[in-house]
Amino acid sequence: MRRLFRSRAWYKFSRSWLSVAGLATILVIALVTVVAPLIAPFPEHVGIFVDFRNTEQPPGWLYFFGTDDNGRDIFTRVLYAYRVSFAVGLLVLAIAVPVGVILGLLAGYYGGLVDTVIMRTTDVFLALPPLVLAMAIMGYLQPSLFNIMLAISVMWWPWYTRLIYNLTRSLRHEGYVQAAKVSGASDLHILLKEILPNCVPSLLTKMAFDMSFVILMIAALGFVGLGMQPPTPDLGRMVAEGVRFMPFDWWMSVFPGLAILILVLAFNLFGDGLRDMLDVDV
Amino acid sequence: MALLETTDLHVRFELFEGMSHVLNGVNLKVERGERVAVVGESGCGKSLTARAVLGLLRHTNAQIDGSVRFDGSELLSLSERGWRSIRGRRIGMIFQDPTAALNPTFTVGDQLFKVIIRGGRARTKRRAREIAREALRHTAIADPDRVLNAYPFQLSGGLAQRVLITMALVNEPELVLADEPGSALDVTVQEQTLRLMRALGDELGAAVLIITHNLGVVREFAQRVYVMYAGSIVEEADVDTLFHAPRHPYTRALLEAVPRLTGEMLPQPIEGVVPDYTAAPVGCRFHPRCPHAQPACQEPPPVVDLGGGHRVACVLPEAAP
């Protein structure tokens, strides 16, 4: 840790306090989601729970973010919704990134027929508006954590294929790739040891930005009712349901909305910082 | 009064590694109509000097001390507005890579007309076109209209270079600052660039300050030379003196490192490396690499005037060659 804070990379990153704020926010939220069961004031409010005496309570000392029309603590539900957002975001990247990277490397390095087949396939996916595609898939499948993840991943890998494809196309002409060939390196070595490591900075930066997009997309799916199904808390759905009570019971939409905003903003700021630190274009 | 004069120019940058003290008191002068070269290896601060003179270090984290006077007025304290009346009008600029210096999205003509109109030489585009045509013909471009209607990528390196020279000179500046002109181009084109710059400069009576790493270019182009090492001027002299009787050990070493067309001997390397500016050697910055170094070199070297404008910053200006 000490070494990190003394490194040149950290120095560059920390030039912008906004990026540091973004990173700090992400870390705090990540920590909070992990320990949510310990710190949530009303863990039982996450599931099916009704408390008619405390419906639509405004924010206060007992209910930080107020309560909803079933008397459930919104703060607790936001904490648990964050868990879902984080988990889905990470899992989407865990599927989309490896698939996208492998296909991008192959298409970029070998060219020819491999290139045509892979890249035209990505074109098909990229031609469809992502939200529409995800909604179509979700409309067809049962809304569940796994299916949401699958639907978003299906739309996400082509972006990584394209990023890695473009990087590979330019990197394969680099002197060190040519030199590695002359040094007798196998294609596998060249792809994994020479080209891929030089894609990592762009990859990391894109992943940071994409976390915010994925979170936003989950929220959007939730908003139109295709996200996590009740009673599991979902930020998008909470905003949508709270809208009925606007403007009097404003907290029901505003706090989940702010929660989305903060997380998305944090990942964006962090992405900006990474981009400056790693000196890449995405 | 000199046309351009920098006095005790210091530039520092705050870096992760600490304070990087790059320019360490640069004093140089360019008289009207004179061709002056600043020569040194990469990282010696020569381009930084040019950028300081052109006010291109404003809005960066550079800390600048000292003075840069142009025609008697101080440039370092000039406002952005003041700069606009100088850059491109009274001081022209020519950069290393001509294709990178032109905006690829506009035609050559549009870019040239803008320079002419901004320089106050024409109000209308039509008048600007006449001036541009005349100026291009002057650089031996046979068909100026074809060039004016072209986009930069349609020009060869040689043509692009001539367009840039035209751009730098069309407003008849008093000083042209050329940073490694043509060194990104083939040697035959570079030669042409230098010839053209010399001819046009002479014709307009413009002074030229050329920044280069190539001693051959210095000898063929300049009248007077400043040799720079690690952010300081180590020797200044007229070209003949510098090439026939160099005094600073660095100048001598640099000359011996140049491969000769006559091939009588392999060029001689200079031992050691250019110092890290965050921990530059105290005193003479060359002393760790100098074959004649002695204890006195730990102090800042005196600038010894050898007469005839030949000055050398060395405790041993008479050291045996």
């Binding site: 002197g175 060190y176 030199a179 002359v182 | 230098l194 090439f243 000359l255 067309l261 392999l266 200079i270």
Partner: protein
């Protein structure tokens, strides 16, 4: 030194298709390189000199013609036993080493790939190679970012030497370096050639360097060899007008050099002539001596005296 060439190039050509038209990067060239010599290939951008290097190294496929190594034709896809024997040092010290790999990983690659030494000897061998190029083993775990331009070129040289090649293609190995560093790398190259009996194909645009390092030189222009011969002879009495032009445009630092430069009357249109097309001599559009024949017939490389060849209809010093 044996007289049979170790590497020959016969009618080697490379065309590209650019928007339907054929562009000849290399238009049928012949070369012979003898064991233990330094053969310089000189030319400006667009001369095809780097393409020639890539074809010899098997990084590109020839459109026509052959590279013959020790009497047998050499293809782009070649056995690793053959690939090992021709290595490369490239121009740009910033791209020749992978920024994400340590010096050790870089030099170990050919040791592993060509099974040069047993696995437990890798580290020791990398140390030896670094020592050979004048660096210390302490550089082993550094990344290229921590090295100077000159040091990077030394590492590239160590990587080339790791596979114990016979031929090294040096593609502008010093042109991005400062003169003081260039001098050191050149001295190292000369020393290594002597120690390991290496054959160098030295590709460069810098005639001053050629004069100091090469025994023989071939001057290329637009994909053809226009002049070829012993360095001293080519420099003292260039036959092709392009060679004269090239020599005359080098900025020099001493009176002695000025005296050996050929005089050349500059035609300002000569640069624009680069855009013109000639069916004959590729240099005709820029040549002040061009006659009709130069525009219509491609001149053959002809011997004017022993071993000194020029492809010119009106060579200097002939009439």
């Amino acid at each position: 030194m044996s007289t049979a060439p170790v590497l020959s190039v016969r009618g080697l050509s490379k065309y590209y298709r650019v928007k339907g038209t054929r562009v000849d990067a290399l238009a049928g060239i012949d070369l012979d390189i003898r064991r233990g010599e330094t053969m310089a290939i000189v030319g400006e951008s667009g001369s095809g000199k780097t393409t020639l290097g890539n074809l010899i190294l098997g990084l590109e496929r020839a459109s026509a013609g052959q590279v013959i190594f020790e009497g047998a034709p050499l293809q782009m896809r070649r056995s690793s036993a053959l690939r090992r024997r021709i290595q490369v040092v490239q121009q740009n010290p910033f791209s020749t080493l992978n920024p994400k790999r340590t010096v050790r990983a870089t030099i170990e690659l050919p040791l592993r790939a060509y099974k040069m030494v047993s696995r437990d000897r890798y580290r020791a061998r990398v140390g030896e190679l670094l020592d050979i190029v004048g660096m210390s083993s302490t550089h082993m775990n550094r990344y290229p970012a921590a090295l100077s331009g000159g040091q990077r070129q030394r590492v590239a040289l160590a990587r080339a030497l790791a596979s114990e090649p016979e031929i090294i293609v040096l593609d502008e190995p010093t042109s991005a370096l400062d003169v003081s560093v260039q001098a050191r790398v050149l001295a190292l190259l000369v020393e290594l050639q002597r120690t390991f009996d290496l054959t160098y194909i030295f590709i460069t645009h810098d005639l001053s360097v050629v004069r100091n390092i090469a025994r023989r030189v071939s001057v290329m222009y637009r994909g053809r060899v226009v002049e070829s011969g012993p360095t001293e002879s080519v420099f003292a009495a260039p036959r092709h007008r392009y060679t004269s032009m090239l020599l005359s445009s080098i900025p020099v630092v001493s009176d002695a050099e000025l005296a050996v430069k050929p005089s050349w009357t500059w035609d300002p249109g000569a640069i624009e002539g680069q855009g013109l097309h000639s069916d004959g001599c590729p240099f005709a559009p820029r040549c002040p001596h061009a006659v009709d024949a130069c525009w219509s017939d491609v001149p053959e490389l002809e011997s004017l005296e022993t071993a000194h060849l020029a492809a010119c209809h009106r060579p200097a010093g002939s009439s």
